[in-house]
């Protein structure tokens, strides 16, 4: 039992690495949060130590040592410390909040709509020119330094969007639009996660976040705006044909093809993503085939049904999806 207890802090340490960690501080929000956290730790730490000191004095020291004047001085000092500490914490919280709201306000924000569903993320980059808008799923690419205004909607139940490395979390509520402002400050790969229990596969509702240079972001955006390539060889064509003539096309969209369902994630450039099934599996041939063949084995309760197909058809569909870079 004691050995098990010793493992608890170790398990907590596992949360301290990289892509899904508040302490990463890769966004202005989480950077400020870390500073605030440190300040709170210092102030509350000092008061904790002081209380322990008073306790020790009361236990060890003699009664009424130093008399009334000493007690009075101590009380005044203690009250003063509490007042100053509280003012410091309140003021710092307020100023951090204002700073976060102001950060990057001189730059045009990137507008992204997030639509959370059981159990995946629909992502839509908005543009004043609607033809330049971009739809993708389960991944967020952000240019470094530019503020991002996320509009948050939910299609079924309450979800919560949380990218710990970048900012705090915000709920997505059906029938209501929430906002979240994020300013990414450091290039890297991060991970977002649903932070409000939303049903069976809540734990498997994640997405990849890539913060990159403005040039890389522009290149990505341009590539993602292209329709899917035509199937080149007969094997891939067979997969394309199966996809279009079966249940797949009823829920998924692939740009440039007749498939334009919006019930499931957009697959136009699915092979360019790092993960599939909302951050559940890596984007590899094996994972892709396993997921298509038996979605309910990977994510029990997921809305994707197992479509009856022969092994040849499965190979063909996987080959086709792999060409959607």
């Amino acid at each position: 039992m004691r050995r098990l207890l010793a493992l608890v802090p170790l398990a907590l340490l596992a949360g301290c690495s990289g892509m899904q960690s508040m302490s990463e501080g890769a966004g202005f929000g989480s950077h400020l949060f870390n500073q605030l956290m440190l300040l709170f730790l210092v102030v509350t730490g000092i008061s904790y130590a002081a209380v322990l000191l008073f306790l020790t004095m009361a236990v060890v020291g003699r009664r009424n040592e130093g008399g009334e004047p000493r007690l009075q001085a101590l009380l005044i000092a203690w009250t003063g410390f509490i007042l100053i500490g509280l003012i410091l914490l309140t003021g710092a919280s307020f100023l951090s909040d204002r700073r976060e709201a102001r950060e990057g306000s001189d730059r045009t924000p990137l507008k992204v709509t997030v639509n959370a569903n059981q159990w995946w993320w629909g992502i839509e980059y908005q543009n004043d020119d609607p033809s330049q808008s971009l739809r993708t799923a389960n991944e967020l690419h952000l240019p470094v330094g530019r503020p991002v205004e996320l509009k948050l909607n939910a299609g079924d139940v309450i979800h919560s969007l949380w990218i710990p490395a970048l900012a705090g979390k915000q709920d997505l509520i059906p029938g209501r639009e929430n906002d979240l402002r994020v300013v990414p400050t450091r290039i890297g790969h991060y991970r977002g996660q649903c932070a409000e229990y939303c049903g069976l596969q809540h734990a498997h509702m994640a997405f990849d976040v890539t913060v990159e240079s403005p040039q890389a972001f522009a290149a990505w955006y341009k590539a993602q705006s292209q329709p899917a390539p035509e199937p080149a060889d007969p094997g891939i064509k067979a997969g394309h044909d199966f996809f279009m003539s079966h249940a797949c096309a009823m829920c998924h969209a692939i740009g440039g093809t007749p498939a334009n369902g919006t019930t499931g994630p957009d697959l136009t450039h699915v092979a360019s993503r790092k993960t599939i099934a909302a951050g559940t599996l890596p984007m590899t041939r094996g994972a892709l085939m396993g997921w298509i063949a038996n979605p309910q084995g990977v994510k029990p309760g997921a809305r994707m049904p197992a479509v009856g197909m022969t092994p040849d058809e499965l190979h063909a569909v996987a080959s086709y999806l792999e060409t959607l870079k």
Partner: protein, 176 residues
Amino acid sequence: MPHVGPRFRARLFWLLIAGFCLLSSCRQSDRSQTSDPRAEGAGGGAILSDPAQQGYSTSAFHIGEGQRLYSWMNCAGCHGPHGGGGMGPSFMDAEWRYGGGMADIVRSIDGGRPNGMPSFHDRLTGQQMWQLAAYIRSLSGLAPKDVVPSRGDQMSSKAPITQRSPDKPAEPREPY
């Protein structure tokens, strides 16, 4: 431990027995997420031989999934958001052009019908068709009251389905 009389002990014993009896109701309802792969594949006949078909019309889970599919597949586009009808026939009256049994409805979805009903053959899996059929039957009060969805996801001015009389499946009435 304080002293307890034999009668109290006997009562406690029977109380425990009764408690254990209650546990027997802790069985989760059957929520098979996939239909039998043998029933999938080519031909409406194969879909109609789904061995689990009895279960769909009495399962709250499957009827709920059918309700979801009803809006996802835009059945509401022709048959109305609550099955009230429109371009396509209503599901709320007691009239069924091609039969109101589970298999009849699945046959209509799978093969389509003349004058507008498209075929969803291969476009939906067999299980999805059974789920849809179960939901469609619930719209005219043909599903047991304890399994029908209590409210739709859309806005509605009508009472939820559970609060309507199951005996009178919305037959046209004389105005009085």
